[in-house]
């Protein structure tokens, strides 16, 4: 496997979506190619970092307001009104 092929298959390799033969070829390439190992390690770390830090939530005070608006909308809907304002 060449470096270009390894990069082409990198996400499938990370996601364990490659067949056995390509997985073996990728592993063999990675044992001998330092640059591709770096790309693999840093890509996996990139994914992990975003997974760890990318989970913002609605601020608490805004969350309560938003939920109250939804409750009001549900209440109107239950009484048969069609139009629900969204802001």
């Amino acid at each position: 496997m060449t470096c270009a092929e390894l990069i082409q298959y990198l996400s499938d390799y990370i996601d364990q979506d490659l067949n056995e033969e390509l997985t073996r070829e990728a592993q063999e390439h990675l044992t001998t190619c330092r640059n591709c190992r770096v790309v693999l390690n840093t890509t996996q770390k990139t994914i992990l970092l975003y997974k760890q830090t990318g989970r913002q939530t609605i601020p608490a005070e805004r969350r309560a307001t938003l939920f109250a608006r939804l409750q009001a909308a549900l209440s109107r809907d239950a009484t048969g009104r069609d139009h629900v304002p969204t802001s």
């Binding site: 470096c3 270009a4 990069i7 082409q8 990198l10 996400s11 499938d12 990370i14 996601d15 330092r34 640059n35 190992r37 770096v38 790309v39 390690n41 840093t42 890509t43 996996q44 770390k45 990139t46 994914i47 970092l49 975003y50 997974k51 760890q52 830090t53 990318g54 989970r55 913002q56 939530t57 609605i58 601020p59 805004r62 969350r63 938003l66 939920f67 608006r69 939804l70 409750q71 909308a73 549900l74 209440s75 809907d77 239950a78 069609d82 629900v84 969204t86 802001s87």
Partner: protein
């Protein structure tokens, strides 16, 4: 937790506990998707609200073929695209299948920052670099990366939520990962140049 059809039945019966359960389970996810695309917390809240309102007032549009979560993502994503189209002079690219291989940019930076201490990686500076890197991605790549790698949807679920083929979703995810890796590598090794 009730199954999706039971949840919907209870919701339309006016059960406040069901709305609370749905809100707790999905509001933040919809908010994150919208915030990632629109970059405006207030607009992101509006998208979350519009999505729930649509679920409550147009329940027939949820046919039950997809998971409720996937359906909510799709409604929110389409609402975000509508807002982006109104804002942007250049229309967003269509969701056509994308060729990979030949035009895939090759990595340029080979500094191994993967063993950087967690205290540094989770600090404010790196956090700002992460945010800057993802905001430089086109929206079409950002949404795939968020749903697949941050929210943990399967490729098939992300494809359904975004109205893409599985193949196009995989190509976009791959491009997003490589682009983010390159930009973060440039941050850790300023001597390298990110195209």
């Amino acid at each position: 937790m009730l199954a999706d059809p039971e949840l919907l039945t209870a919701l339309h019966a006016g059960d406040p506990a069901t709305l609370a359960a749905l809100f707790d389970a999905h509001a933040d996810k919809l908010y994150r998707l919208a915030l990632s695309l629109l970059r405006d917390p207030i607009e992101a809240e509006d998208i979350a609200q519009e999505t729930f309102v649509k679920l409550m007032t147009r329940p027939e549009q949820f046919e039950g073929r997809a998971r409720l979560e996937t359906w909510l993502y799709r409604v929110a994503y389409n609402a975000c695209l509508d807002r982006l189209r109104r804002k942007q002079a250049d229309p967003l690219p269509d969701d056509e299948p994308e060729a990979d291989g030949e035009s895939l940019p090759m990595p340029q930076s080979f500094v191994d920052w993967s063993a950087t201490p967690e205290a540094v990686l989770l600090g404010a500076e790196v956090s700002a670099a992460l945010e800057a890197a993802i905001q430089q991605l086109p929206e079409s790549l950002r949404a795939v990366f968020l749903l697949r790698d941050v929210e943990g949807l399967s490729t098939e679920e992300a494809a359904e939520a975004l109205g893409l083929s599985v193949a196009a979703t995989k190509v976009r995810l791959h491009r997003a990962r490589l682009a983010l890796r390159e930009r973060l590598s440039s941050y850790f090794d300023p001597s390298s140049v990110t195209p």
